[in-house]
């Protein structure tokens, strides 16, 4: 870990002012950033502690729910409005990490987790385009069991590790941002980016910008929502595949639905093709399967992760069947 300065921000304006320093980083729970600093993968000049900023979870008059970025993961998962109106989010949060980590980790920080690709972490011994742009990628021909199958990756096959973000993608959340040029709000879907030729870029945040809140729109049918995470042990492992879904059935027909996948791409993967294919169609296992196959039609396996395509297909169908009361 390099030497750095540390200061607590008293409010958002103070945070943004301090965050304008060269190589400054905002510090939430530190559950990822501090690890990366220990590995010297991150070498910030200054840490601006934003855990004292808003952690309020507020139901707004338009029916949306505003979650302050400093809210702890545990607090978000436990909140009554989250549990009743957005169970998919509560379950996604609780599927991640461990109790100790969730007690430290913040909602804002969770959005900015970096990949768990072992070649990214192995600074001394492995090539990585995300860590050192243009260097090459040792994961493409290496251990890539946990790597991406969607998003046409070429320079980087890393996946986004968050569970919470998969639920936020499904729910169509909004992200509130403050920065040197003022405040703005973006669709959650526009926060993370696919790797393209620049996997070192992971979000559309501009230099010095700070996530201040996550807003969940009113999605009434999200009361019937689910998150299923498939992994290599029962707890404390990143998703091989995860599915966040909510579905609104009227008379056996899909009126509306949301579905997102985790563990498949450089960003939380909103399954828009699947959603479009199912809307207005009978909620049958056959239709679920056909829509899953449509969504996964472009999936490209690497040497060790071909199973994830079939696993994603099966998990999508099982989650939708569960939500619609069918037996898979």
């Amino acid at each position: 870990m390099n030497n750095f300065t540390y200061a607590r921000a008293v409010d958002t304006a103070d945070a943004v002012r301090q965050g304008a320093a060269v190589d400054a980083k905002y510090l939430g729970g530190g559950t990822n950033l501090v690890d990366l600093m220990r590995e010297t993968l991150e070498r910030p000049s200054a840490l601006v502690d934003v855990t004292g900023l808003s952690s309020a979870i507020t139901e707004q008059v338009d029916g949306s729910l505003l979650i302050g970025a400093a809210a702890k993961n545990t607090a978000a998962a436990e909140h009554i409005a989250v549990r009743t109106r957005y169970p998919v989010l509560a379950r996604a949060i609780l599927a991640g990490a461990s109790g100790q980590i969730r007690n430290m980790a913040t909602v804002g920080g969770n959005l900015l987790q970096r990949t768990r690709c072992p070649y990214f972490y192995d600074q001394d011994g492995s090539r990585c385009n995300k860590r050192s742009p243009g260097q090459g990628c040792d994961a493409i021909e290496g251990f890539n069991r946990i790597h991406a199958i969607l998003g046409a990756p070429s320079a980087c096959v890393a996946t986004h590790p968050s569970d919470m973000c998969v639920a936020l993608a499904a729910l169509g959340a909004m992200v509130h941002i403050a920065g040197p040029d003022g405040q703005r709000t973006i669709d959650f879907a526009d926060l993370h980016v696919l790797p393209g030729e620049h996997p070192e870029l992971e979000t559309t945040l501009r230099p010095g910008e700070l996530i201040t809140a996550v807003e969940l729109p009113a999605v009434p049918f999200a009361r019937q929502s689910a998150y299923r995470k498939v992994r290599d042990r029962a707890s404390y492992a990143f998703a091989l595949i995860s599915v966040a879904a909510a579905i609104d059935i009227d008379n056996g027909v899909v009126r509306d639905m949301r579905l997102a996948l985790g563990g498949v791409a450089h960003k939380p993967w909103r399954a828009l093709k699947l959603e479009a294919a199912l809307k207005g169609q009978p909620a049958t296992p056959e239709n679920f399967l056909a829509a899953a196959e449509l969504e996964l039609a472009d999936a490209k396996p690497l040497t060790h992760n071909a199973f994830k395509i079939e696993l994603a297909r099966r998990t999508i169908v099982a989650v939708l069947a569960e939500l619609t009361g069918e037996i898979a």
Partner: protein, 768 residues
């Protein structure tokens, strides 16, 4: 054959031909007859309060004046030479006292590698930071010493190095071409009786399949660490060790010192499992301490453990069994190849279980080792047996399926009456009983013989079983000292180890029973290389070694006390075999009323204390009897039909390991072994990138071991039948718990799904 080998062969024959009565273990340990002592009662760990309150000091917690902290930089190529090494920036970093590389390190000899002599403890025999040569990906190339750990860690990131690479063998398939038969404990790992290949072909039923197991890395919760300081030419080492005497002697060879000049202590060890022996960090820390002129603490990072502490190597095992329709084996074949480092000799001996498990008309058992440019592999809980039982016991299950026979029935039909490959009588073998009681308690009768027929929603349910087995070992070199003081208290000193298994507690119980004292009157001191004995906490042999050593010392003590007792005592003219200890007294064994208290005997002696020391007899019992521990493992799994996820829902271990000394710590040892076995079965795998020879998952986030949710209730039962030829009638039980678990899980997965997974770990992609 060399003269030495020839002489040893003659000795071996002579020992085998000697009467049983000349052997240690020919007479029952008197403690076996004693029924009302502490042995067999559940006793909590004496060091529990210290551990839970944080008062117990581990190797990296001993303070030394003016101590500096060390961190290591590791190579990133598997073979070649350092071309450029720039340490200037690191040397200039805040707090840095010293950067040690091959350029400025002391001249040191390589460590004597394990099994090269009685007290050798080194993981390999490579030069340590002596030249530019790189021998594996992860080799330490620099050590940074700084005022704080953080400063040392950071400065290592500032070291710049380039290499000239040389061709390395890092692909197992390539290495296999040059595999040679492995030599283990001086013997080739090759057993052949009859023509097994021909018998296999002609047998009416047979299976012939290949199993593979991956590399495993050691992950004791306590990281490998030393705190070292020189006092003149004497080296003080606070270590986390399972071999203090071995480590002291081996360090003495490295630094060209007398053994006594190295003082290694290790009062607590946070898990060893075969890994807490001598690795480069000991030597580098001592060398840096010498160079810097100050004490040094070197605690490896978790990554460091993966890079420089060897683990279990990968295996590829063919199992072929030919059988008659009644199940009787005509041929038992277990052959294959293991990966091995170039500079060590640990050919994972996976055939050991098959050497004594079953009768067969013929045997072909053989391990070949393929040398690779990799970190030296080493012992890891039940080396050989953990992975050998996976292949063998899955093979037996496959044959049972082929025969349409219950797998327990098939095993009992091949139950040997004597050791099937050595011909020696078994000292104690009650595995059929262990299966019978285990099957009853587990509800084996409820198992559906046809796979894939038991379903609960998405979950397929299945049961499997497998044999667990591990040899009884007792290594040479056991010795102990007992001091009896005038207040009737006894202290045992022995260079043994407490790694969390309960050794110190259990041997306090045993010694108290032997002397006839309460536990509060007995202190067992251990973990100090200046104490008597060369007692490795390995091979599950420590219990027997301590038992035999204390028994020998106890006999000396009693002889001494009877001498001082004189004619006025109630015990005149008796010898050590005619008295026992009871209620603080020495008593005539057949007339316990004739007795005198230790306090009175000591008063009679006029001395404040009597100290005796004795060596355990040579461990020849295992030359006359085939001595093994046994168990029957039962597993129930639920496999998700959608995702392939396997969850172990129930587990039972039914053990036959002689007399159980302390049921409380024993149950914990068995459970711990089984949990480690669940990891072996379902998730553990060191990801060794064959392109670079580099370990890619050197952290507990990426290298999966079971978490609480992966572990079901584990039921433990045992026969508690003493082995008449073992000290205390007991066997060490540290390793048997992991054996058989991989097969029990895999067999249960097959029963649940009809899918036979022959390649560990059983991850969901193999079952979905």
């Amino acid at each position: 054959m060399s003269i030495k080998d020839a002489a040893q062969a003659v000795m071996k024959k002579a020992v085998q031909a000697a009467p049983d009565a000349w052997m240690p273990g020919s007479e029952l340990d008197p403690l076996i007859r004693q029924k009302h002592g502490l042995i067999g009662t559940p006793v909590s760990r004496l060091d529990g309060p210290q551990k839970v309150s944080g008062a117990a000091q581990f190797a990296a917690e001993f303070p030394m004046d003016n101590m500096a902290y060390a961190a290591l930089k590791y190579s990133t190529i598997a073979k070649g030479r350092i071309k450029e090494l720039d340490t200037a920036t690191a040397e200039a970093a805040p707090g840095v006292d010293l950067v040690m590389t091959y350029r400025n390190a002391l001249r040191m000899k390589p460590a004597p590698p394990f099994m090269s002599s009685a007290k050798a403890a080194g993981g390999d025999d490579l030069p340590i930071m002596q030249d530019e040569e790189i021998h594996w990906n992860g080799q330490p190339i620099a050590l940074v010493l700084a005022e704080t750990q953080e400063q040392a860690d950071y400065a290592t990131s500032l070291i710049r190095v380039t290499y000239e690479t040389e061709p390395a063998v890092t692909v197992f398939e390539d290495a296999k071409a040059n595999a040679e038969v492995g030599i283990f404990q001086g013997q080739p790992l090759h057993v052949e009786t009859g023509d097994a290949e021909a018998s296999l072909k002609s047998a009416p039923h047979n299976i012939d399949v290949v199993y593979t197991t991956p590399r495993h890395s050691h992950n004791p919760i306590e990281l490998h660490a030393v705190t070292v300081g020189w006092e003149g030419d004497n080296l003080r080492v606070h270590d986390a060790s399972q071999g203090v005497a071995h480590t002291a002697w081996s360090l003495a060879q490295v630094f060209d010192l007398a053994e006594e000049q190295i003082h290694v202590t290790s009062p607590y060890v946070g898990g060893g499992f075969g890994s807490k022996t001598l690795w480069q960090h000991h030597i580098l820390a001592a060398a840096a301490s010498k160079l810097a002129g100050r004490p040094v603490r070197l605690m490896l990072s978790r990554e460091g453990v993966y890079r420089i502490v060897g683990g279990r190597t990968r295996t590829e095992q063919r199992v072929a069994i030919g059988a008659q329709a009644d199940g009787g084996f005509d041929a038992l074949i277990q052959t294959g190849t293991v990966a091995m480092g170039r500079h060590n000799n640990m050919p994972e001996p996976f055939i050991l279980p098959a050497m004594a498990a079953y009768n067969s008309g013929s045997f072909l058992l053989r391990v070949e080792a393929a040398r690779m440019d990799m970190l030296s592999n080493t012992f890891m809980r039940a080396p050989g047996e953990a992975v050998g039982t996976f292949a063998l016991e899955c093979g037996v299950d496959e044959l049972a399926e082929n025969l349409g026979m219950d797998p327990i029935e098939l095993r009992s039909r091949n139950e040997p009456e004597k050791d099937p490959t050595s011909g020696a009588p078994f000292s104690s073998r009650h595995i059929v009983e262990a299966y019978r009681t285990g099957a009853k308690r587990f509800g084996w009768a409820e198992r559906r013989a046809k796979p894939g027929t038991h379903r609960d929603g998405e979950w397929l349910i299945g049961m499997g079983c497998a044999t667990a087995t591990y040899p009884y070992y007792r290594m040479p070199g056991g010795a102990a000292r007992i001091t009896l003081t005038k207040d009737g208290r006894a202290t045992v000193e022995i260079a043994a180890h407490e790694m969390g298994m309960g050794t110190s507690t259990t041997h306090t119980m045993v010694t108290a029973d032997r002397l006839g004292l309460g536990m509060e009157c007995v202190t067992v001191k251990y973990g100090d290389s200046h104490f008597p004995g060369v007692v490795l906490a390995g091979g599950s042999q420590q219990t027997a070694s301590i038992g035999a050593s204390v028994s020998a010392a106890h006999r000396e003590l009693v002889t001494e006390l009877l001498k001082v007792a004189g004619k006025d005592s109630p015990l005149p003219g008796l010898d050590a075999d005619e008295v026992i200890g009871l209620d603080g007294h020495l008593c005539q064994s057949d007339k316990p009323g004739r007795r005198e208290s230790y306090v009175s005997l000591m008063a009679r002696s006029g001395r404040d204390e009597i100290t005796v020391e004795a060596n355990a007899p040579p461990p020849l019992e295992a030359t006359h009897w085939s001595m093994h521990s046994h168990g029957a493992m039962f597993c129930e799994v639920r496999v998700n039909a959608v995702t392939g996820e396997t969850r172990v829902s129930r587990f039972l271990g039914s053990f036959d390991c002689g007399r159980i000394l302390n049921p409380k710590t024993a149950a914990s040892q068995f459970r711990g072994g089984i949990i480690m076995g669940l990891g072996l079965a379902l998730m553990e795998e060191t990801q060794f990138d064959e392109r670079s020879g580099r370990v890619m998952n050197p952290s507990l986030a990426d290298y999966h071991v079971p978490v609480h949710l992966d572990v079901p209730k584990i039921d433990i039962i045992w026969t508690d039948i003493p082995d008449p030829h073992a000290p205390m009638g007991a066997h060490g039980i540290g390793e048997i718990g992991i054996t058989g678990v991989g097969a029990a899980v895999a067999n249960a997965v097959y029963n649940a799904t009809g899918k036979r997974v022959r390649d560990l770990p059983i991850t969901l992609d193999k079952t979905m």
